[in-house]
């Protein structure tokens, strides 16, 4: 299929451009979950439906790099990570880690490979066994993989991992239980447990969203430092564009199981090409109350991934969609001024001014259409901080 080829070429070209071999290379990855059928569905012999959680995702990651998968809940970012970890089986595509295709390796052969891929979970209150001391939690991966033969060797590895995770001196923490630690310390213990196996790939699923603002920066700086040492690469999953922009090298914006924009973090933030990215960026609040941005608040929420719209999947909520967007499913293609900046939007290839013009023109006509349908038009209160932008009334 031609569309597949485009996807592959895009990923391949970015891998080629980044030079040496990618540590993680994901190509056209697909993950599906069956929808539970009710008894009446079974009686009526309705076909089983599938949630297309990940629907053709391609990206690559090198050692020393941090890539951020950004998107709202239900966009498939966590499913992508689960599939890379092989906690969920891929329905299509391939996952290559350090040159080895792990997509369909048997669970038995997978075990040694798991050493190289470690995950840090969102909630450090949940991801640590409450009855394990720090020492046991960090040593567990070593025991599972039979590393560090003698207990003294293992203790040394545990200490090293804790200190690498910023818990120094380790002796202060070794014998504590999770409930005796603060949120930031717990997350560092979880990171230390991941580091104990000296992995080459760290998947961090919203690593700071459950932590207090005051300690978030420290945990993020830790992840940043780890990948800058060059021993590992970090795939960070987040909904927070500010964090992604600050710490990641590249950002992949996901929507309904697909990457809709992909490129160097600074480029994506400074010159977003996809209307969804533009909208996401516009609603990030500024901490300076004097700077009141024009928030592009999209109405509604991410639709159900069981029934993905035809053509461009963002079309129903898109403020600039045209008729042709319903026909063609746009693939990632070069966009903007940076050679690695890609967007999956038919209208994104237009030059900056052109796209902006299309944007505002469509906005005007949509507002009119909304009024005709009796939907209250967005009001423009002068002192209202965030909602000065037009709110699009999506096609219901």
């Amino acid at each position: 299929m031609t569309s597949d080829r485009v996807v592959h070429d895009a990923a391949a070209s970015s891998a080629a451009m980044t030079g040496d071999q990618a540590l993680l290379d994901v190509r056209d990855l697909q993950t599906r979950y069956p929808v539970r059928r009710s008894i009446s569905d079974r009686l009526a012999r309705r076909p089983r439906q599938w949630v297309r959680a990940v629907d053709g995702v391609s990206f690559s990651l090198r050692r020393g790099e941090m890539v951020a998968l950004v998107g709202e809940s239900g966009c498939g970012k966590t499913s992508t990570a689960q599939t890379i970890l092989r906690m969920t089986e891929a329905a299509g595509g391939s996952i290559t880690v350090d040159g080895q295709d792990i997509t369909s390796v048997s669970q038995r052969k997978l075990r040694p490979l798991r050493r190289g891929i470690q995950m840090v979970y969102q909630d450090p209150y949940e991801s640590l066994d409450p009855r394990f001391r720090v020492r046991q939690t960090v040593a567990e991966p070593l025991l599972v993989h039979g590393i560090g033969g003698s207990s003294s060797e293992r203790a040394a590895l545990v200490t090293e991992a804790l200190e690498r995770a910023g818990l120094s001196p380790a002796s202060l923490y070794l014998d504590r239980y999770p409930h005796e630690l603060s949120g930031g310390q717990r997350q560092r213990v979880a990171i230390a447990a991941a580091l104990a196996l000296d992995p080459m790939l760290l998947l961090a699923d919203e690593p700071v969203s459950m932590l207090d603002v005051s300690v978030r920066a420290g945990v993020l700086a830790l992840l940043d430092g780890l990948r800058r040492d060059g021993r590992l690469g970090v795939l960070m999953i987040t909904h927070d564009l500010s964090t992604a922009a600050r710490f990641a090298d590249r950002i992949a914006v996901m929507y309904l199981g697909r990457i809709v924009e992909y490129g160097p973090a600074r480029e994506v933030v400074a010159d977003p090409r996809h209307p969804y990215t533009k909208a996401l960026l516009s609603v990030v609040p500024n901490r300076d109350p004097r700077v009141r941005g024009t928030a592009q608040i999209l109405s509604g929420e991410t639709p159900n991934p069981v029934a993905i719209p035809s053509g461009c999947r963002f079309r129903p909520r898109c403020p600039i969609a045209e008729d042709r967007c319903a026909q063609t499913d746009p693939q990632l293609a070069l966009s903007g001024n940076h050679p690695q900046h890609q967007a999956a939007c038919l209208l994104a290839s237009l030059a900056g001014g052109g796209a902006a013009a299309v944007w505002s023109a469509n906005q005007a006509s949509r507002g009119a259409a909304a009024r005709r349908r009796g939907i209250p038009a967005p009001r423009h209160a002068p002192r209202r901080p965030r909602a000065r932008g037009t709110r699009s009334a999506s096609g219901a």
Binding site: M119, D129, Y177, S182
Partner: protein
């Protein structure tokens, strides 16, 4: 309450672990301590029976249905055997049956519950249908049939009670395992590459252990009750002395019509005491494990108003 306490800056204080909760439950509840005391008392009594029992349980030591006296505190039964000695010694076998049956029931119930809850799918369906079957059968009727078919013997009684009692435990443990299984730290262990045996042994078992313990204590009570019932119905080896057979003998030899209450009442009291002890302790452990039972959400008590007497210098 705990959420508010955390919000209010109590994050650094120590929350007791589950084993700690049991200790705390016993320390905080007089009922639990009483229960534990009763159980310990009867266990000590049973272990030390040969040393304590004043008379033999096989040889005559006084007249038939002799009433309580200085020499025989609880009188004698139809065979002229000292009732106190009988109760002390009978406790041995009653407790052995109670504990052995419970141990087997817990092993089966715990194993089935964990396997069912952890692995799920067809295994869960199969095991739970068997469990359901055992749960709906009336205990005593089933026990009578089995005991009768197998014939009266100590091991048969243990077996029957164990078969009857594991199903409830399996259900409870399965539910707990299913919720623990979804915890993130279990998923994390899986993603590390830990084997099922390791996950069950190191993460799940310690988590369901206290619940299993609470259940064990409660099951001991039921087992002893069942033992008594089976013996009373004559489905136990009549040559052994247990609390159940003491009752059965007394009734058999018309102790009631003879007015020999001492052959029946003290025995009934010890059975009741032990069962009560088990329930008190088991209930206390369960309460401690389930904090939701402890918080009185609909309590009529309210927050208090406090006069701001010592207004600090920072008061405005």
């Amino acid at each position: 309450m705990s959420a508010i306490a955390t919000e209010a800056g109590l994050a650094g204080t120590v929350a007791p672990g589950r084993a700690g909760l049991i200790r705390q439950a016993i320390a905080e509840r007089k009922a639990a301590a009483l229960g534990l005391g009763l159980i310990v008392f009867f266990v000590v009594l049973a272990v030390a029976a040969p040393l304590i029992a004043p008379y033999s349980t096989t040889a005559r030591s006084c007249a038939v249905f002799a009433p309580p006296s200085g020499a025989h505190w609880l009188g004698c039964d139809d065979g002229g055997i000292d009732v106190l000695s009988e109760i002390i010694s009978g406790g041995r076998i009653s407790l052995v049956i109670g504990f052995a049956a419970t141990l087997i029931a817990m092993l089966i119930g715990g194993g089935v519950g964990i396997a069912s809850g952890y692995f799920g799918r067809w295994l869960d369906i199969t095991l739970m249908r068997i469990t359901d079957y055992l749960l709906v059968i009336p205990d005593l009727a089933f026990a009578m049939v089995i005991a009768d078919v197998w014939g009266p013997s100590l091991s048969h009684v243990i077996g029957v009670i164990a078969i009857l009692e594991w199903a409830t435990t399996a259900r409870i443990i399965r539910a707990q395992v299913m919720s623990v299984k979804e915890r993130v730290y279990i998923k994390r262990a899986r993603s590390i590459g830990a084997s099922h045996a390791r996950i069950i042994g190191r993460h799940i078992l310690p988590q369901v252990g206290p619940l299993l313990m609470a259940n064990t204590v409660l099951t001991v009570a039921v087992a002893i009750y069942l033992e008594t019932a089976l013996a009373f119905l004559g489905l136990e080896d009549p040559t052994t002395t247990t609390w159940g057979t003491i009752l059965e003998h007394a009734f058999d030899r018309s102790a009631v019509s003879a007015g020999a209450w001492w052959a029946i009442v003290p025995d009934g009291i010890v059975i009741t005491l032990l069962i009560m002890g088990c329930f008190l302790l088991g209930q206390a452990i369960e309460d401690a494990l389930n904090p939701r039972l402890r918080v009185a959400h609909l309590s009529s008590r309210r927050w208090a108003l406090r006069p701001l007497a010592g207004r600090g210098p920072d008061a405005i």
